[in-house]
């Protein structure tokens, strides 16, 4: 009873966070738990270009080859989210690791790493990803590699900044004076302070990765032909959009929009909790 009422209090106090969390959960359940009703690759020409709700068998209609839009949408979204998840985790780990080492050790390592970061940030990410994807050719892991390559620098920058501001703190000095090693200090004392801002970065980064992947696939440089993909669906539906058959292109984009919105709402709700600097600025 007491516990329940405290949960209710939290919900009432932070409606925004609760709503966005619910949105995320519902989206996750719809995408990953709801089974695809048809084989996404099954073509059936008599059923081609059915509009949504026209046939009970295809609730979201069919595309130009008679493939079920809903099934493709589900599998494409799963692929998008998995790729984004892997990219964000890898970028987070690499960026955090290098950023903390740079900030903690200082000197030549820091200078070298930060020049590398500056260098990467002096080209538009999307263009580097586009050129990389075109040169390397299609492939899921190639795409992931490219997106991690363009993504880790943001994390490294944030992690280094947070490390710089914590490493001079008294308790770090205290830990060192009682004989804690560098590794222990970095893991136990610095990482917890770095994790918050870098986590915010990860939440900001996730919708960007989803959009970049979709844009690359839309342009024909992203996922290979055998992987269901939102971007490819949008591209394939474009000529039909001009004839008035809107659902093949616009529905997958709407799903992308929905997911990005759920993540962005959650980010702005959680941001001031994880980043103390922002919290103080907003309370004023």
């Amino acid at each position: 009873m007491g516990r329940l009422s405290s949960v209710w209090k939290t919900i009432k106090r932070d409606r925004y966070l609760t709503i966005s969390l619910l949105l995320l959960l519902i989206t996750w359940a719809l995408v990953f738990v709801y089974p695809a009703p048809h084989d996404p690759n099954r073509q059936r020409l008599p059923d081609r270009l059915l509009s949504p709700l026209e046939s009970s068998e295809y609730p979201l209609g069919t595309d130009q080859l008679g493939r079920d839009v809903l099934s493709n949408l589900l599998l494409g979204t799963r692929a998008s989210l998995r790729i984004a998840g892997i990219v964000v985790v890898l970028s987070f780990v690499i960026g955090c690791f290098l950023g903390i080492i740079a900030g903690y050790s200082g000197g030549a390592i820091e200078a070298l790493l930060m020049r590398l970061v500056d260098l990467q940030l002096s080209m538009p990410t999307f263009l580097v990803a586009l050129a990389g994807a075109a040169i390397l050719g299609k492939g899921v892991w190639k795409l992931i590699g490219i997106l991690v390559f363009t993504g880790w620098v943001r994390y490294a920058r944030v992690a280094r900044g947070a490390t710089l501001s914590t490493k001079e703190l008294v308790y770090v000095e205290a830990a060192r004076s009682v004989g804690a090693g560098n590794l222990r200090i970095m893991l136990r004392h610095i990482f917890p302070n770095v994790a918050g801002p870098v986590l915010v970065m990860a939440f900001i980064h996730t919708p960007m990765v989803i959009m970049t992947e979709a844009s690359l696939s839309f342009l024909g440089f992203g996922l290979p032909a055998n992987v269901a993909s939102i971007g490819k669906m949008i591209n394939a539906g474009y000529p039909y959009l001009l004839r008035g058959d809107w659902w093949i292109s616009l529905l997958p984009g709407a799903v992308l929009f929905w997911i990005a919105m759920a993540i962005n709402l959650f980010t702005s709700a959680i941001r001031d909790r994880l980043d103390p600097k922002l919290r103080s600025a907003q309370r004023r």
Binding site: S122, P124, F126, L127, A134, I135, P207, L219, Y238, F257
Partner: protein, 305 residues
Amino acid sequence: MGKLVLTRLVQALVVILLLSFAAYTMLFTIADPVALLAGQYSSQEDMDALRESLGLNDPIYVQYGRWLWSALHGQFGQSLYMKEDAMTLIAERLPASFLLVFSTLALSVVVGVSMGVVAAVWYRTWIDRFAVALSVLGISAAPFWVALLAIYIFAVKLRILPSTGYGTLRHLILPTTTLSLMNIATFARLVRDSMIESLTSDYVRTAMAKGIKYRTVVLKHALRNSMIPVITVIAMRFAQLFAFAVVTERIFAWPGSGRLLLNALQRLDYPLVIAYLVVVAGLFVGANLVCDLLYGIIDPRIRTD
């Protein structure tokens, strides 16, 4: 001032050097333009001859050295397919891209900054909440999806605007607005957060206490101080817009340099790809330089000598 320009120039050179080297090595170790260039039905001898004539049999560092040497003389090589100087081809297409990017940037700054100021002035009222909600929606919408949505509504259904083409103001409306949406949202949020901080600071209270009109305080005192972070982001967005314009140009059949790049990438037309990357790196550094100079104008405290 001179030192600043020099630093930026050195930075541009380093970026261009490393970038061109990376692109060169990748293009020659991973992707082979010859098979695409010669076509499906060409014989092995033809392909070997083509390879030899393009100088692709030399070691990479020789090829790169050759490219670098002619690049230093202003020659960035010929497009493999169009048999024309790569830089000339890009320069021909740049005006259309510039038109798209600059009108997008102008629209985003004007609308985004005004939205941010309005939201900050009415902080914590429904106006502010509405503006924040709009900006979350705007940030979440992928530009290419917004473009398709707009084409469906305004070109296919309502038939009041053209879906593709170039030349008149009417053709500019859809590409510019759809590409602006994301930037408007970003700028609005940024200006709002920055303005809220400025409006609660001591100098604003002092100015109010002196009896200066609220409108003057907001627009002259607070806004000016809030623009520093915004200008940094605008400069970064400029080059990013160039990249995202590639998608917009493709959708609206806009005859800019982005479509040239897409074709070049599809056919591994490496002189053109590398020349394009050099142009964008130059633009990015240029935008950063302008931004550095603007800092000095807006805030004399960070003026550098």
